[in-house]
Amino acid sequence: MASRGRACAAAGYWPLAAPYHSQGEPFASMVDVLCNHDLMDFPSFHADGKRKNKLVELYHIFSYLGSSLGNILQYQRTLNPSDQNLHSKLSSSVGTMRGILSNVFCHLCNKYHVGHMDVAPVSDTSAMSTFENKRLGCRLLGKYKQVITELAQAF
């Protein structure tokens, strides 16, 4: 339970949880339309499942989010190389995701003796256009906003 509480607290510290601001046209008027498309490969979560399963699903979700944020950080370093503040916050968020994963894995290991977790790879977005990358980022943040609330309620 302690690990769960820590994870929730860490989610609150995530900078990307701040309200999303539009980036201008065409996002100014079509944010919801462009970002509401669901991510097809996002791990599933069953809130009514067993605790161990929920923890495993939680691990997968944060693993996906961490990897995706890593990709976003790399892409932002190219797209906005001078925005050190954004880079720092993305980096901090990536580190926080890693911390949550470490805590979840430690909990699974200590309580459920899970010694290894398979992690599905995140699709490579390097070949995508800038717009698609931005759109993917927007969708990811939207998904995060949605799932983090669900996760908090599930634990």
Partner: protein, 915 residues
Amino acid sequence: MLTWWITIVQALFMFFATESIGVLLDPCGLIYPESPVVQLGSNFTAVCVLKEECMNDYAVNSENIFWKTNHATVPKEQYTIINRTASSVTFTDISSLNTQLTCNFYAFGQIEQNVYGITIISGLPPEKPTNLNCIVNEDRYMMCQWDPGRKTGLETNYTLKSEWITEKFADCKPKHDTPNSCILDYLPVFFVNIEVWVEAENALGKVTSDHINFDPVDKVKPHAPHNLSVRNSEELSSILKLAWINPSIEGFIRLKYDIQYKTKDASSWSQIPPEDTSSTRSSFTIQDLKPFTEYVFRMRCMKEDGKGFWSDWSEEASGITYEARPSKEPSFWYKIDPSHTHGYRPVKLMWKTLPPFEANGKILDYEVTLTRWKSHFQNYRVNDTKLTVNLTNDRYIATLTARNLVGRSDASILTIPACDFQASHPVTDLKAFPKDNRLWVEWTAPNESVNKYIVEWCVLSDHSPCIQDWQQEDGTVHLTYLRGDIKESKCYLITVTPVYPDGPGSHESVRAYLKQAAPSKGPTVRTKKVGKNEAVLEWDKLPVDDQNGFIRNYTILYKTAFGNEIAVNVDSSHTEYTLSSLTSDTLYMVRMAAYTDEGGKYGPGFTFTTPKFAQGEIEAIVVPVCLAFLLTTLLGVLFCFNKRDLIKKHIWPNVPDPSKSHIAQWSPHTPPRHNFNSKDQMYPDGNFTDVSVVEIEANVKKPLPEDLKSLDLFKKEKISTEGHSSGIGGSSCMSSSRPSISSSDENESGQNTSSTVQYSTVVHSGYRHQVPSVQVFSRSESTQPLLDSEERPEDLQLVENVDSGEGILPRQQYFKQNCSQHETSQDIPHFERSNQVSSVSEEDFVRLKQQQISDHISQSCGSGQMKMFQEVSTADVFGLGTKGEVEIFETVGMDEGMPKSYLPQTVRQGGYVPQ
């Protein structure tokens, strides 16, 4: 120099030898190990292995090897010959950090050849790092630091390692300038435990510190709260509300706070109780503050559970509490001008401004109310702190209140008694003393109930008036300190007056110093009276401005010019002191010091001389001496009087009466003097008395100058008064006032006269009524007739006849006077009469003599008389020189047929005046 040449030769030899071999700088052998690092205190063994080629070329083997450390040859006892090519050396207890070790041999038996050299590096293995700790400054990377332990002497590398359970992080290498700390290059992730440790490694070993496992959030040092603001409340003058903005970390950790405050001028801070600020908040209300007081605040925060570190202090913020009504009445006092005018008395009411902590705001004004009777009062509103009013001689009640924006103070009530009020009941045991750089006043309260005390003080000075300051104390106080600008070395006159409900009581005063010092100058000592063996010193008390403290005593130092200094301590109440046991006729140097509790100061020196004689001592000596002298004189006189006959017999022999003498011949036919020598012939009765001769040098013929005449006369007078004359009419016993020219001082008389006069004594054959048959006069100018007349007063009648003579009027008058006296006192004894004459006419006699001498010498004697004396001097007085030069000789008639007297007064020359 020789060593230098040997070195050069060796180098050249080596160069050519290697060239000949064809290998450049190919060593003849090696040392193993090549780069040894040895722990201090351990043993070390090195082996030198020679190459075969070199051994053959130089004809050496391992036995020829010798070792050197830092150019010093190692003793052979440490060598070990391993085989023909190898030799080892062993060192025990390596103590130096860096040592150069060389392997050498003598080429051809005499040339030192260096084979190989190594440097032995020695040191210590690293100690286990301790006290590893980490801190996470908000929004910054985590930094960890540790204690490295002892110095190793070797290059030691520290590595900070960290890891989660699930992954390891990159090592953190300290920078050279901070070898004992390291900053991780990734942002710490809160709520994920991390394990951290330090590895220390050098050539002698590797050691790892203890692992610490912590959540970085427990090592956080948050930013300080910012934007502090302070706001007061009009409703409550004792509170201030402090607000701030928390650091951003407050978003995911809870904070607690440390709030401190102080008044603006205070130096120490007060702290809000920690339990009141133990949770996250953004404002706090501070209570129990003083009204209208400016407070300064600061605060800091940390994680609520106390894990982590306090933030830095925030910037300070200040605020002023709101005003409140004055909390205390002002101090209130009055002074009455002693000058009464027409039944009124000027009263100066005065009060003190309230201190800020009692004013509780800005005092707008003061209200004074004077009540004469219950129904009669006067109100004054004053902005100043004093008010002068003219009051009647009646009793008044004065009240004073101070007003600020919020309200009025309590009233300070003061009773101004009537003019005829008699103050009483003073405080007792009043004393003042310095303590803790303050001047304290303590007293014993009177038995009566006291409303309050008024403590007044002023600086006593001879140069300025005593300007009083004052303060008020409650009636329960009996110890306080003067709350004013009290200065050191100043004499304060402190007065305490109890104030009773019906008016002030009697006051008591005391003097005190906050801090005493030595006097500014010493007393000036002087003598009041100086005696032969004592001196009374006196001095003035020092002015109070120069005292600088209470004069406890004086010290008088006095000494003679060569003597030791003597110190005398005198009580401060004295202003004079008597130095006793002084030496007479001695110069004394005196100086004087005045002493306070803190030291003394000498005044200017002073000298005085004791007299040789005490007062009256001279008189005590002189008077008895004079009395003794007078007594002796009197006794002498009496003796002379009693023995006058005997004395007369010795020094005043009987002189024959010329009038009764018998000179056989007084004419040019008088037989020569030489005939006269035979007394037996001429005076067969033996009645020839004496012969006196006065010689006056005849070679001085010209008259003397006037001044010399007077001098001459004076001398004659002196001679005559000295009484040395043994001639006719000589002196009395002691001093005869009767002048006489004596033949006993021939030299002097000869010097004083211009001619020599032979002075002859009248020789007569008859004596005492023996009438000579023939008057025979030897040349004589004796005064015998006068003497004779003393014996026989009847002869004085002859003087009357003489008076009628010519040319001798002054002397005749003189003698006439004497004679007249003699006539009027015939029954007086001769001796007395003689004295009488001398005493009465001594001065006249001198004058007479002067006149006579001057007459004879300078005037009348200029012709006939001088001529006569010249002739007399050159002629034989006793016979040869009497051939008529004496022109005038009065032959005095004889009474009853007898010659009365003989007065040879009309001598022409010689200036001799018979007496």
